[in-house]
Symmetry: C2
C-alpha cells in the first residue's frame, strides 16, 4: 500500500512556511507498513487542489489531505476531494447544530461562511475534532476498480496529530495486515559519519528485516533501527540483537542506547555517582549551561556556574590570575585549566568545566591571543586539586560562530562523559 500526502495552503508555497505535518503522518504510516511515495504541496486554489487530488487518486492507495478545512473562502479541500472523487457533499445537520451550540456558548453569531465546515463528502465518516472547529473526514471507497482511502485532516498540527491518532490509526489498521513495530536509536558524538557507516554497515546489512537509518546531525550521529513483525516480541528481539551487535563494534563511542540526549546522559551519570557539575564558559557564553538546564530535574547534578565573557569576570568568578590572562592570553591551555579548577572550588561542585576559545568571526584580541586561529578552543575538566586531576583538551573547530560554539559545547559534554567513564 502506498500513500500520498497533500498539504493544502498557499502559505506553504512562500519562503516562510513549511509543511511539517507530513513528517508526523509519514512516521505513523510507516509504522503501519504503508510507505509514502509522494508529497504534494498546493495552494488554496480549487483547480490546483482538484487536479492534485485526481493525480493522487491515480497513483496512491491512501490519500491524506492536511489543511484547507477552515471556514474561509480559501479553504477548498472539501470541494476538491469531492470533485476528484466525483461525489457530492451534504451539509450535516448534526455538525451545524454543534457549531451553533459552540458559538452560542460564547455569545457569538455563526458567521455565514462557517457553515461550510458542516459539508460532508457523500460516503464519508465524520472525524470529530476536539481541538478545533473543523471536523476531519474519512472515505473508504472504490475508484476505477481500486480501493482508495481518502482522509481529510485539519492543518494545525495540534489538531491534526491527536485527530489522526484517535480516529484514523484504528480505522487504517483494520484494513491493513497486523504489524508491530520495535524501534531503537543509538547516538554517538564526534565520530565521523563515514567511520560509523564503514564499521556498522557490514553488521546492519545482515539484518535485512530491520530498517536502518543513519542521520548525521550537529556533531553527532544517530543510528535508527526499526523492525516490523507480526508480534512485538519478535520485532523487539531483532532490533535488540542488531543494536547489541553494533554496540559491540562501536563500544564506548555510543553515548545513548535508547535515544537519550548527551545532556541527559551526562546528568544521569553524574547522578549515579552522586556528583555535581559547574561550568565557567567564555566562548560558549552560556550555551553549555543552557543545554544542561533544558533537561527537567537537572538541578540536583548541575549547580550552574559563570559566563565569563569579559576577562574581569574570569578573575572575579573563577579566580583566573590577571597575570595569567596577560601572559598566556584568555584563549590558552592555562586559562582553561584555571577556569575549570576555579569554578569547581568556587561552587563546591565535584566536576568543574572551563571553556575558552575564539568563536569568530573576529580573531583573538590583542596580546598573546592576537595570532591564534578562529575555532581554537580549550576545554578544561577538573575533578580535584591535584595537578593530574585536571585535564585540558585543545580543539580546532572549523565553521562559523554558531558551529564553533555548538561543537565546543558538544565536545565538552562528550569529554565529561568519557572522563566519568574512565574514572568508573
Amino acid at each position: 500500500m502506498i500513500a500520498e500526502i497533500i498539504a493544502a495552503g498557499s502559505e506553504m508555497l512562500t519562503p516562510f512556511r513549511q509543511d511539517t505535518n507530513s513528517l508526523y503522518l509519514t512516521e505513523r504510516l510507516n509504522e503501519m507498513g504503508v510507505s509514502v511515495a509522494f508529497k504534494t504541496i498546493v495552494g488554496d486554489n480549487l483547480d490546483h487542489l482538484t487536479g492534485a487530488a485526481r493525480i493522487a487518486l491515480g497513483r496512491a492507495d491512501i490519500v491524506i489531505f492536511s489543511g484547507g478545512l477552515g471556514p474561509t473562502e480559501d479553504d477548498r479541500t472539501r470541494e476538491a476531494a469531492s470533485a476528484a472523487l466525483g461525489v457530492g457533499m451534504t451539509r450535516s445537520a448534526e455538525i451545524l447544530a454543534a457549531m451553533y451550540k459552540r458559538f452560542a456558548l460564547r455569545h457569538m453569531a455563526v458567521p455565514l461562511n462557517n457553515e461550510r465546515q458542516a459539508d460532508v463528502i457523500d460516503g464519508a465518516e465524520v472525524l470529530e475534532n476536539v481541538n478545533g472547529s473543523a471536523p476531519g473526514q474519512y472515505i473508504d471507497t472504490v475508484v476505477g476498480g481500486h480501493r482508495k482511502i481518502v482522509i481529510l485532516l485539519p492543518g494545525p498540527p495540534k489538531e491534526l496529530k491527536p485527530l489522526f491518532d484517535a480516529q484514523c490509526r484504528s480505522r487504517l489498521a483494520a484494513t491493513l495486515p497486523e504489524r508491530h513495530i520495535a524501534k531503537r536509536m543509538l547516538r554517538m558524538a564526534l565520530v565521523p559519519e563515514s567511520q560509523v557507516d564503514a564499521r556498522t554497515a557490514p553488521i546492519y546489512n545482515l539484518y535485512s528485516d530491520v530498517e536502518t537509518t543513519i542521520l548525521a546531525g550537529a556533531a553527532e550521529i544517530q543510528l535508527h533501527f526499526q523492525c516490523a513483525k507480526p508480534t512485538m516480541k519478535e520485532a523487539q528481539a531483532r532490533v535488540d540483537e542488531l543494536a547489541t551487535a553494533v554496540e559491540q563494534e562501536m563500544g564506548e563511542a555510543i553515548y545513548s542506547f535508547n535515544g537519550e540526549s548527551l545532556e541527559e546522559v551526562v546528568l544521569l551519570m553524574l547522578g549515579l555517582r552522586h556528583m555535581t557539575l559547574a561550568a565557567a564558559e567564555s566562548c560558549t557564553g552560556g550555551l553549555l549551561a543552557q543545554r544542561l538546564t533544558a533537561v527537567p530535574g537537572c538541578s540536583r547534578y548541575f549547580l550552574g556556574g559563570a559566563v565569563v565573557y569579559a576577562d574581569s569576570l574570569k578573575t572575579s568568578f573563577a579566580d583566573v590570575p590577571e597575570e595569567m590572562l596577560r601572559t598566556e592570553g584568555p584563549v590558552s591551555e592555562a586559562v582553561a585549566r584555571a577556569l575549570a579548577v576555579g569554578i569547581r572550588r568556587r561552587t563546591g561542585a565535584s566536576v568543574g568545566v572551563g571553556i575558552t576559545g575564539i568563536a569568530g568571526p573576529g580573531g583573538g584580541a590583542a596580546g598573546p591571543d592576537a595570532n591564534k586561529p578562529i575555532g581554537l578552543v580549550y576545554v578544561g575538566i577538573s575533578f580535584g586539586d591535584a595537578a593530574e586531576e585536571t585535564v585540558v583538551t585543545e580543539l580546532q573547530i572549523n565553521g562559523d560562530r554558531e558551529k564553533i560554539r555548538w561543537w565546543a559545547s558538544q565536545h565538552t559534554l562528550e569529554l565529561v562523559r568519557r572522563s566519568l567513564m574512565e574514572r568508573g
Copy 2:
C-alpha cells in the same frame, strides 16, 4: 508564469528529512515575479519521478528539480526529465574529461557509475557546479505548443544555492519582464498577532502593490514587506512609505526596523549609551547569556554573568542573602531584585539583570515556593543602588519548559530595551 519544484530523494519521504531547498528557490523565484504553485516530493523511483515530471510539465511553466543527479543507481532525475520531455540524452565528452581529470588529481579511479553524471539531456545547457561533481542542466524548450523551462539542480543546498544564483537567475531574468524587489522587515516582541493585524491591516491594505506577510514566531511578530517595480527606487519608496506608516501606528512596540534580532538591538542600544550588561540567571539557565553571546562583537557590551541554578550560587555569585532565600523562596520578587543588584555590583556592569522562575515540569521546591505555579517568572533589572533604579516584573508564562524559558529570555531582552528607551 508559474513554477513547480520537484524534490527528488527517498530520504525526504521518511520522517527524518525534509526538503528545504524549495524555500530558497521560492524566495528567488518570487523575486523574479514567478509564483510557485506546486511542490512535489518524490522518491528515487524512475516511474514515480517520470510521472511527476510529466504532471509538472502539464501544469507549470517552469519546472525545477532538486536532487537525484548523483552517481548512484538511485539517481534518476536525468532519465526522468528526458523521458517526460520525450528527448534523448548524450554522454558529454567534456564533462567526462573533467571528471577523469578530477579523480586523477586525487589518484582515484572513476567508478563506472559516475559516468552517468556526464549524461546531458538533448538541447540542455550544462550548468557547471563548482561545489560538487554533478553539473546542473537548463532546458528552454516547447512542449505541446507551450514554452517550458526545465532546470535540474543538485540536491545538497551548498551546491544548489550558488549554482542557481550564478547560472539560473540571469538566464531566467532574460526571459522575464524586468523587476526590482525592495524588502523590509519590522519586528515586535510580546505583542499579540491579532493586535498587530488589527492595527496594521487598515494600513497595509492601502498598499496593494506591496506584499505584506505577518509571521508569528516564538514571542515575536515579524512584518515582511516586499514590493516589485521596474526600478529599485520606486520599489524602495513604496516599501519605506508603508513601513513608516506602520511604525507610526505601532510606535515603540517595534524593536527592529530592518530585521535585526532583539539581541542585536539591545547590544546596539547599550553600545550607543556606552553601557554594559550582566545577568544572573536561574530558570533560564544561561539561555539569555547564550543568545547575547551568539552575536559577534557582543563582548564590549555584555560582560557575562552567572548561572545561579543552585541556591548556593545565588548567594556566592550574586550576594542574595541566605535568609531571603529561606523566607521569600528563590522564586520571588525579592530574589529577582537581589540578583539584579548583586550581579551588577559584582561585575561592575551598568545594567544588571536577574531572572528567577519555575520552568517546570515540576513545581517550586519545598518552603515558600511550594505553591507557586509553573510559569511564574520574576525579572529584575537594575541600573543603580537607589531603590527606584531596580524594577522587578512578574510574569506568568503558559507552556512547557522550553517555551517558558524562551519567553522569559525574550521578555527580559524586551524589558531591557524598553528601560533603556525610557531612560533616553
